[in-house]
């Protein structure tokens, strides 16, 4: 027999053997996908959650380290780390909503207590710090708390999912992860701005108000909130904003209530940053009615109640930006938005008020890095 034919026969039989092996592998994979397909899917989803969780952890650790580095400049105490960890785990318990009557007042009270306690704790850690820097560090710790909270919640669902291998738990955690990561990244971006005292996108309302009140006499109207009376084309403009340049949002609700109780007001104009939808441009300005103010809702409630009581129209102007823009150092596009908002306010005043009228202009937002 020819040697070449022998080789061909061997290889041909090897080809049959390979075909058999491939068929066996195919059947094995088919059976595996039937019995363990879901487990494999769960495992892959868990891995995705784990990756996101590790990223959030990095951001949280980075925030903690920045806070520590900043505070070490004012306090070299070895117990500083423990004090910071204690602050990062600080929480507040919202009041019961079984009977919702008067819940806003209760929330306001609890938040005030929290703020005072928090400020006292921080002041005891860094007694020789100036007020502006104290407010900035307070904001920075708030960012740290938010990142820590996000990390803890996501870790809880990850570990719970891993423990129970529940497809629905893991599926929810995986589905939520992209938006949670976006929020965490926005918070991580805020760290640089808060640690250096740079103005953030959220301060757009404060900047508009500051531009109106610049060069006029200012006075404190409520805690961390200033006002100035400005003349504009025969109208009296009472401009309200948080006290800067430290990181503050002030108490605009209380300020508006006080002004409305003391004087006759013809209109209230509120300027704030608004979250843009995907596809919208940063710095785009929009106009509407209502109380343009975010947060838990205490200030919004106070302003709406007071406006209704005194029958004063509420006008709103918003400058659009993303969550990341709102929390990081202001972009040039937002300054362009500020100019547009100022022009809109001037037009609104001319159109909706008469000469001799008195109106309130409230610049809402965190005034970090913005004076007045």
């Amino acid at each position: 027999m020819n040697s070449e034919i022998v080789l061909q026969q061997i290889l041909s039989s090897e080809g049959d053997r390979l075909g058999f092996i491939f068929q066996a592998i195919f059947i094995a994979l088919f059976l595996f996908s039937i019995f363990y397909g879901q487990k494999l899917q769960v495992w892959m989803m868990l891995k995705n959650v784990e990756v996101g969780l590790n990223r959030i952890k990095k951001m949280r650790d980075n925030a903690r380290q920045t806070i520590l580095d900043l505070l070490r400049r004012f306090n070299d105490d070895p117990g500083l780390e423990n004090a910071i960890d204690r602050l990062l785990e600080y929480f507040w318990i919202p009041p019961t909503s079984i009977d919702p009557f008067g819940i806003v007042g209760k929330i306001d009270h609890i938040l005030n207590v929290r703020e005072r306690r928090f400020r006292w704790e921080l002041k005891s850690i860094t007694p020789n710090i100036d007020d502006n820097r104290l407010r900035n560090i307070e904001n920075l710790i708030e960012v740290g708390i938010s990142l820590d909270q996000i990390y803890r919640v996501m870790r809880h669902y990850y570990l719970l999912g891993k423990k129970t291998m529940s497809l629905f738990l893991i599926y929810q955690a995986e589905a939520l992860m992209p938006t949670v990561l976006q929020e965490a990244e926005a918070l991580a971006d805020a760290i640089k701005a808060f640690s250096t005292g740079q103005p953030i996108g959220d301060g757009v309302g404060s900047l508009v108000a500051a531009r109106f009140m610049y060069g006029n006499e200012k006075k404190l109207i409520s805690e961390d909130t200033v006002m100035a009376e400005v003349e504009f084309e025969g109208r009296k403009l009472i401009v309200v904003k948080a006290l800067g340049p430290g990181g503050n949002v002030g108490k605009p609700g209380e300020a508006v209530e006080k002004i409305l109780e003391d004087r006759k007001i013809d209109a209230i104009i509120m300027v704030d940053a608004a979250l843009k939808l995907e596809g919208e441009e940063v710095g785009e300005v929009a106009e509407g009615v209502g109380a343009a103010i975010g947060g838990i809702g205490v200030d919004k409630f106070k302003i709406e109640e007071a406006a209704k009581k005194f029958n004063v129209p509420l006008y709103a102007i918003v400058v659009k930006e993303s969550m990341s823009d709102a929390l990081s150092t202001m972009k040039w596009d937002i300054y362009i938005g500020v100019e547009k908002a100022i022009n809109r306010i001037k037009r609104l005043i001319r159109e909706k008020t008469n000469i001799g009228d008195t109106l309130i202009l409230v610049g809402v937002g965190n005034t970090i890095g913005i004076g007045q």
Binding site: Q8, L11, S12, E14, G15, L18, G19, F22, K47, E50, V51, N54, R55, K57, K58, M59, N62, E185, A188, D189, I191, K192, T196, G197, Q198, P199, L207, A210, R211, Y214, G244, P245, S324, S328, T329, M330, K331, W332, I334, Y335, G369, I370, G371, Q372
Partner: protein
């Protein structure tokens, strides 16, 4: 803390194991492809087809898995790598200047003196220049 350390250790061991397995699979796949070329040249087309199928499948699977696990390594956000500028203007003579942000700068605060009339200039804006990520 212990849990986090254990998690990161477990992650590292898992990463190395999967990486080594996939690297071995990639090496085997390349070997199979070489066998396929050899078999084709010798005229055993059917055998070459089996080898190439096995080689390609293994290569695709290992490359895909390797890419996924390498990309999975946590990365720190790059949006922090931006520069911050301060825009100053002299309200007396209108001179404007832009410089890097300095500690203590704030919008509508007083900044450096005007080089023309020595009046303290007003900070009109503190803004960030686009980061690499945003430019992309």
């Amino acid at each position: 803390m212990m849990l986090e350390v254990a998690m990161s250790m477990k992650n590292s061991i898992g990463f190395i194991t999967v990486f080594l397995l996939m690297a071995a699979l990639a090496a085997c796949s390349i070997f199979f492809l070489l066998l396929a070329v050899n078999a084709y040249h010798q005229g055993f087309k059917e055998t070459a087809l089996y080898y190439s199928m096995a080689g390609l499948m293994g290569l695709i699977m290992s490359t895909y898995t390797l890419l996924r696990i390498v990309r999975r390594r946590p990365t720190v956000s790059t949006t922090l790598n931006y520069e911050v500028q301060t825009l100053l203007r002299c309200l007396k003579c209108g001179f404007s200047n832009t410089r890097g942000f300095a500690d203590g700068d704030y919008v509508l605060g007083l900044g450096d003196k005007c080089p023309h009339c020595s009046t303290p200039m007003v900070i009109l804006a503190i803004y960030r220049t686009p980061s690499k990520k945003e430019k992309q």
